[in-house]
Symmetry: C2
Subunit: 489 residues, 2 copies
């Protein structure tokens, strides 16, 4: 067996362990009784530990130096194997263990600190997390030939740099500064059309959500829809597990949540089967993943065309009169608010932009952890014109930093912008896209995405995939045009 | 770290992998969409492969020769570790692979052969499975100092030999020969009291089953009840997964099934937590496990006392008049029949006895595979007086042999007999056991079983546990007395 073939076998085995971990993780969120938590933690630690051990194995290092491939997917696969091994081995074991310990301690304290809006309680442990993250990022950056922040960011999404994201986000800030007040003014002048009051029975919501997900292309012969506190898309490409939660007073949250996760699920289901369990056969990154959930949820489903399909369907499902106008009123509103996960698509990037800037400053040391609440509130005021009344609605709201995740936030907005850009390209390629959406038919869109994004796996980076699919690297103009059309006309 | 401590760590890791496999296996039966089957097969193969690799590791062999312990549980644990390692390493790799291949091929062909009642179709592959099983059993027997059949039987249940089981089963045959006609005659003379016709809604059955399982002591904070085609008890001690299937025409099958699995579940939940993931902390074997399911289902739940509690409860759940007499008529009938899994408690041992004799003859070579259908039908006629009309209802009905499992069948009846013996001992220790059962309260029984069986883990073999709990090794007189009291009075 060639060195490269042996590596493929090793990565196949690692992927199987990771898949087992993914199923156990889904189970822990959707099925497991409370009493199983400790045992599950140990099971998952053993799986993750073995996966890491195999990735770090010295024999893998040897094989990676011996292996040769033809150009093309194998070559890209080998590159990704090398990077995975490098990332897994670059950090000293002591540092990794200190990072895990610090993040665990910090996250625990953060839960109470957020509840009590008490930043001081978590300040010192967060400072330790940031310090250890910085130490790791410097080592990783040197190993990978990247800046420390890029070394972190690229573990979530390769193929776009922090510098590129910065320029794009700065441009968006200028756009938002003008567009938001205009959108608000137009909205205020418009007639309010409320949805009828609930209850919207959970079982009916679930049935409708399942029908819409299937209509969007999700193959339930290889997927499940269940309930969890925090909705997510998990599982494996041939056995996708999406979750949602239901509120009987408001059916929209669950429906949009399911369609969002369906976008993620379709990406996974359409990954290149021939490269299953190889690095190059995985999704291209978190930003690209988010683009696929948002192109379904935000671009397709919240379009006029699709809502004109959804309204009568929801009316007959719930036995209430649900008009397209009421759906638009509920699903397409802009509003300055403090909590990122509740933000609308226009203001959401401001939340991300703030975090993106602050986390870079924290990592470089330009911002001390002690000064974070002040910097947060000031930045928030400057972006959205309102000041968080407390840190719970400010810098304590997200788990990410307190859990040691720095470099992830930009993915959300890079994904939203890529979704708009891909939608525009799909629209050009598919002249009757709106006609299909008006029938609830996403298949032309998904077929196009599958060819231009899903089936490419991780064979290219973010901008490279966008360039091949749309003719250019990420360009925020498409997202701005989308928002302008939806909110300013 | 001492060699023994290192071994404990290794077995802990192996157990975590096995637990992950158990959860994935439950998921495959109760949750997984069909499309996930191939991927699941690979995930489970990787987990099982690693578990086996760790168990066979040469370093483990070295540590096992170095390790020393005090007498007691640690010593027993080390003995079980040595046996597990020996069993895993005794067979040449080629033989194991040939066994797996043959069993897989045979099982596939068997499915069609059973459907078509076509023994000839599976004859040659079964002969190959038997030949390879024999080869392995001879090697294992030499390594363990046991006869080939005992080497197989003891992997399911240690602490009772085939010779002991033979004597017990022969005695039962004589009992059955007299008791069965008597029971049938009494039954024929008795008034028929049918349960009211259904439907018994699935949701109501599930709620009642859950309540009864909880009443029997199952802690649903560490357990789930779901649906699967073949009911089973899986999962891990702090996260038990039991399954059943519902028939709206007949609520009794699901209820009894759930209570049977509850007996298995209680054993697992009450295993000694301090020895979790060590060989000595597992259940004592399959026969002992079956005794725990049957003491709940057959001894406790089908007793007059418990049925007097169940009848009004079921009546109010289903809104139909369900009398104790009708429950007894449904749940306590003897009947000569061809299918083992549908047999009543009196005739069930005849099904097992036949298989026990035939599988020993197959293994020794005294019976050729080609002669199996004839030997089956003759043996069946001699035991139960009826002749299977075809092989589907004869020697093709069970998966076991075709899947390479020889030596398992006796566990069912050893368990049924042990259940009767344990119940009698519990009754002596707990004078008001029937009073509690008449309140639906199994806790005195379960507390007693926990102390005398569950908490002993695998620290002793079958007869040793029975001796300590009841004062004697397995004695079929208790089972015969139970049947006499229930069916002949």
């Amino acid at each position: 067996m060639s060195a490269y073939e042996a590596l493929k076998e090793s990565f196949h085995r690692i992927a199987c362990l990771d898949e087992a971990g993914a199923m156990l993780s889904w189970d822990a969120s959707a099925m497991m009784p409370e009493g199983g938590a400790d045992a599950r933690g140990e099971q998952m630690a053993v799986l993750a530990g073995l996966s890491h051990e195999f990735l770090c194995a010295p024999e893998m290092g040897e094989k990676l130096t011996q292996a040769h491939t033809e150009a093309g997917w194998d070559s890209e696969n080998l590159t990704l194997m090398k990077e995975a091994h490098l990332r897994a081995t670059a950090l000293p074991r002591d540092l990794v263990e200190a990072q895990v310990r610090a993040a665990r301690a910090c996250e625990t304290i953060w839960r109470a600190a957020r509840r009590n809006s008490d930043f001081d309680a978590v300040r010192d442990v967060l400072a330790e997390v940031v310090r250890l993250t910085r130490e790791g990022a410097e080592i990783l950056g040197q190993a990978l030939g990247l800046s420390p922040y890029d070394a972190l960011m690229s573990q979530y999404q390769r193929g776009i740099s922090a510098a590129e994201a910065s320029a794009i986000f700065a441009r968006y800030e200028a756009f938002l500064c003008e567009a938001l007040p205009q959108a608000e003014a137009l909205q205020t002048g418009r007639k309010q059309v409320a949805l009828p009051p609930g209850p919207y029975p959970e079982a009916v919501q679930a049935e409708l959500a399942r029908a819409l997900a299937a209509g969007a292309g999700l193959n339930f012969n290889a997927a499940r829809l269940d309930i969890s506190t925090h909705p997510f898309c998990g599982g494996t490409p041939t056995d996708i597990r999406i979750t949602t939660r239901y509120d009987e007073a408001d059916f929209c949250a669950a429906l949009m949540g399911v369609l969002h996760e369906t976008g993620h699920a379709l990406y996974e289901q359409n990954l290149p089967a021939a490269w299953r369990r190889q690095p190059v056969g995985a999704a291209a990154g978190m930003a690209m993943h988010e683009s696929q959930s948002l192109i379904v949820e935000m671009q397709a489903v919240r379009s006029d065309a699709y809502l004109s399909y959804l309204a009568p369907l929801a009316s007959s499902s719930f036995g209430k009169e649900i008009t397209p106008a009421a759906l638009k009123h509920r699903l397409r509103r802009v509003e300055r608010s403090f909590i990122r996960v509740e933000a609308d698509e226009m203001t959401y990037p401001a939340h991300v932009l703030l975090r993106f800037r602050l986390e870079q400053a924290l990592l470089s040391g330009g911002l001390a952890v002690a000064d974070l609440p002040g910097a947060w509130n000031e930045g928030f005021k400057s972006l959205l014109g309102i000041t968080p009344p407390d840190d719970a609605r400010g810098c304590l709201q997200d788990i990410h930093w307190f859990d040691g995740a720095i470099g992830y936030f930009p993915s959300y907005t890079l994904g939203a912008m890529a979704a708009a850009q891909l939608m525009e390209a799909a629209r050009k390629a598919l002249p009757d896209l709106d006609g299909a959406l008006a029938q609830g038919d996403l298949s032309p869109l998904i077929t196009w995405l599958s060819a231009h994004v899903h089936e490419r796996g991780a064979s290219a980076g973010f901008n490279e995939i966008l360039r091949a699919a749309t003719g250019e690297a990420l360009n925020p103009a498409y997202f701005e045009a989308h928002l302008t059309a939806r909110y300013l006309s």
